[in-house]
């Protein structure tokens, strides 16, 4: 097909514009531009919404940070109050477990 078309054309004639395919808008059009395509290309692993996987990752990280820190601090406070010494590690572990559970509950369960 293209060979026939090429042979009919003069060299200096403007090339025919390729007709747009009647499919749904490309990702280029959806995300709007070069920059958007570049940014979106990394993130459509699970969802079509660009950026959502990154934000889930970041949220998961902040849970992982908060859990151990908060419950270790609570453990520390209780240790000071009750004059014991074992509640910091327990709080640390419980916080880790809770944050992992929460991440699983929020983002893992489909």
């Amino acid at each position: 097909m293209s060979g026939v078309r090429m042979s009919q054309q003069h060299d200096d004639a403007p090339r025919p514009v390729e007709p747009k395919k009647p499919t749904e808008p490309s990702k280029y059009a959806q995300s709007g531009g070069l920059f958007g395509t570049f940014l979106a290309s990394s993130s459509d692993w699970k969802t079509e919404r660009p950026g959502m996987t990154e934000s889930v990752g970041v949220s998961a990280l902040s849970y992982l940070l908060s859990g151990p820190v908060v419950f270790a601090l609570i453990g520390y406070g209780l240790d000071r109050w009750l004059h014991t010494g074992f509640l910091v590690p327990i709080g640390l572990l419980a916080g880790m477990a809770l944050s992992i559970y929460l991440i699983w509950f929020r983002y893992g369960a489909e």
């Binding site: 709007g32 958007g36 990154e54 970041v58 908060s66 944050s99």
Partner: protein
């Protein structure tokens, strides 16, 4: 004056770059001094405002070059971040905020590699903190206004959790929403910009020292290698600067979306 290269000539010992070099005072004293990142941030503000006004004042359907460039940045923020994350119903109200944050951050991050400026204001922790506070106040205000205090706290607990675990999850969520999120938002940006700039400084000053102030063939080789690394890291740094501006805007949009959402 221990930071000047002349000091290195005299003593023949290399002073690695240190965080104190990020504090560059122009005039004033102590807390009221006027510093280099302040000047750069002012430049960023003026340039961003001027550029955006100039390129959009005579907006046309067939865009000029400047308008085209602005649209290339505006479209992914409007469609790729705001619309996709906040949702088609109310995203338009937050586009100006997100776009302004993105442009400001992008240019102030890029200040790290633009010749003659060559310093990222976001590498001083106050600038990320100020920008984060801005976003933080907005998303918390939206949440409290939309849901009320009790409704907001209730919305933090994902539905379907067993009853006995809810109080602990509530504590975890409150800390995450009110402390961890803003802190990580600010520190992520600061850390990336600070460390990136530090790395560039180290490779460049180290390369210069080995090449010019040390005798011995091996030092020349290492010096050239160090400069090559500096070029490589500069390219990498540009990528990081784009990415950090994008991530910050993306997370701001996510937090706003969380505040708007009635339930998870």
């Amino acid at each position: 004056m221990s930071f000047s290269p002349l000091a290195a000539v005299k003593t023949e010992s290399f002073e690695p770059p240190n965080p104190q070099e990020f504090y560059q005072r122009f005039f004033g004293h102590g807390d009221w001094s006027f510093t280099r990142p302040m000047v750069l941030f002012l430049v960023v503000g003026v340039v961003v405002c001027t550029f955006l006004v100039m390129t959009t004042r005579k907006a046309a359907i067939v865009p000029s070059k400047g308008q085209w460039l602005t649209e290339q940045v505006y479209a992914p923020i409007r469609n790729g971040i705001a619309q996709d994350i906040i949702g088609t119903k109310e995203f338009l109200k937050y586009v100006p905020l997100l776009f302004a944050v993105f442009c400001t951050l992008l240019l102030s991050n890029l200040m790290s590699v633009i010749p003659f400026f060559q310093f990222p204001p976001t590498g001083r922790v106050a600038f990320p903190i100020a920008l984060t506070l801005f976003v933080y106040v907005i998303y918390q205000a939206i949440a409290f206004k939309r849901k009320g205090v009790v409704g907001y706290l209730k919305s933090l607990i994902p539905p379907g959790l067993p009853m006995w675990i809810r109080p602990m999850i509530l504590v975890l969520e409150i800390i995450t929403y009110f402390i961890t999120r803003p802190v990580t938002l600010a520190l992520r940006l600061f850390g990336n910009m600070f460390a990136g700039h530090m790395l560039l400084l180290l490779f460049i000053t180290g390369g210069e020292f080995m090449l010019l102030h040390q005798d011995g063939f091996q030092y020349k080789i290492f010096g050239i290698g160090s400069f090559l690394m500096a070029v490589l890291m500069t390219l990498f740094e540009i990528l990081i600067e784009f990415l950090q501006a994008y991530i910050f805007t993306l997370l701001a949009a996510t937090y706003i979306a969380d505040s708007i959402a009635t339930e998870h």
